[in-house]
Amino acid sequence: MSYILGISAFYHDSAAAIIHNGNIIAAAQEERFSRKKHDSGFPKNAVNFVLDFAKISLSEVDHIVFYEKPFLKFERLLETYVAFAPKGFASFSKAMPIWLREKLFQKKMIMDYLKDHDKNFKDENKILFSEHHLSHAASAFYPSPFEKAVILTADGVGEWATTTVAIGDKNKLEIKKELHFPHSLGLLYSAFTYYTGFKVNSGEYKLMGLAPYGKPKYIEQILNNLIDLKEDGTFMLDQQYFNYSTGLTMTNHHFDKLFGQPPRKPDTERITQFHMDIASSIQKVTEKIMLMLAKSLSEEYNMPNLCLAGGVALNCVANGKILKEKIFENIWVQPAAGDAGGSLGAALAYWHIDLNKDRFNSTKDSMQGSYLGSHFSDDEIKTTLNEIGAEFTEMSEDEIIEKTANEISNEKAIGWFQGRMEFGPRALGNRSILGDPRSDKMQKNLNLKVKFRESFRPFAPSVLKEEVSDWFELSADSPYMLFVADIKKEKTQEMSDDEKKLFGIDLLNIKRSEIPAVTHVDYSARIQTVYKETNNKYYKLIKKFKEITNCPVLINTSFNIRGEPIVNTPKDAFNCFMGTELDILVIGNCYLEKNKQNINLKKDYKNKFELD
């Protein structure tokens, strides 16, 4: 009997995960509880949740593993400041007080926080530290369905490493090589996120979504000036264009001069064709680097399986390209590929590497569909709904599936709240907003009236696993919405000559396929394949929708508005339902219609969350 608690915190996307004898029991991000997007504080609520779910107290936990090594990170900071001195004094003078007061003493800090959970917790020796990229690699390999695999991790920066290659074999995991700060693919992408006026560490998705509206005009400029890219996909960034090592911005005036404009000011400047072309260019460069890395690793190690993690692994367009090129036979991406997943990886790394414990079933995906978060019983749901004065009808599961599928086909926007919350940034059918992908107006309506976000942003399709290859150019599993593939040619609609002349956001208004709401302007889609083994109720809902419409696809977008963390509790779901133009809310087997609710329960929701 051994419980290991993994924690990631103090940078962004804090989270906690608990494993028992190597089995993943629960994992959740702090933001879902604190309602603060990308919350970086100590994950006290997430720790409480995972301990409650495992039905243990903190004193019963055998080891607590933090996902990175603070001393090593401090070493990188000092060396960087020394290397760039006297440049960087402003950043240095802001960083050092934080480090000298708190971050250098992280073990004590963690100990103090943990004592708040359990006064009886006294054993400081239980607190251990993993390396940032080892945590990512472990989170990608151990839950994967592969006995042996090459593991590629890439993100902004951990301690020193920004990109690592590891080899996993049964319960062994060994990092073979690393690229070090300041040469980072994640930071390169973030530099362009900043330059196009989006928030670093959260707006990268928007940049990726914007890319298909542009033309990759600036590829040569990027490759000839910013990056020295080698044949094996390794690279160095020319630091004269960047400011992240020593300053408080990502790019500098050399960067502005290279592309001819200063960074976009998000509050006052609109997104123009220039920003779309920039987005398209950096996306293509990222794909090129990832493909080159994947090819060189395949040639060097000659293994059929690839695992991916780190923030760059959330670039599902690049992942889709690696899959399409068939460089590896199989690819598995950790659904919580960002820092939140580091909590899980840290715990798994300690169990398998330090304690040398075997994997139970190394040929099966052990993430349980990533449904590792909080769960509410029927009684808890009904009690909450009664307390807040909601009008609802309780139905049987079959009734609720039939009624919901019918309403989706009537172009209603549905809040769908079921089972355990997802771990990772994507909603996978348990905390989702659902809609009819065949509808012409659904993308615009959901973006503007429900999600309150930019109209250019695409929606993703959920599709029954056995139907995926009839609708998309994809035959592999994509359970975590981390691969992009094209819509099947026979489902697309040819553009007229007039339509072909359109560019930029105007492309959005063209009906491009039988499922326009989930077809991006380049005929691609970010696909989630749905399985009855991991989410039977969602599977049955899509199946019923197919019976009604002959379409086994639904729009699936996260249950939140712009800037809000995905809903966690029935109360969060009800508040979001009342604050937006969602038509129907389904929580468990409780069915709520907007027009039957007390109008006084409507809240000003849109302004409650800071825009991301």
């Binding site: 990170k73 050092m96 480090w99």
Partner: protein
């Protein structure tokens, strides 16, 4: 005390002894900065720390 032991082990493992005088200097003089600055304001755009 445990911090010092762990930091000593870290220095022995990494063998970057030239960082030690910088750290000692920072701990002594940085103490003033810590004392005089009320709250640590997180940098506006992006941090590497």
């Amino acid at each position: 005390m445990s911090f010092l032991i762990e930091f000593y082990k870290f220095m022995m493992a990494r063998k970057k002894f030239w960082l030690l005088p910088i750290l000692i200097f920072l701990l002594i003089f940085g103490g003033f900065v810590v004392v005089t600055q009320g709250t640590a304001v997180a940098p506006f755009i992006y941090t590497i720390f």
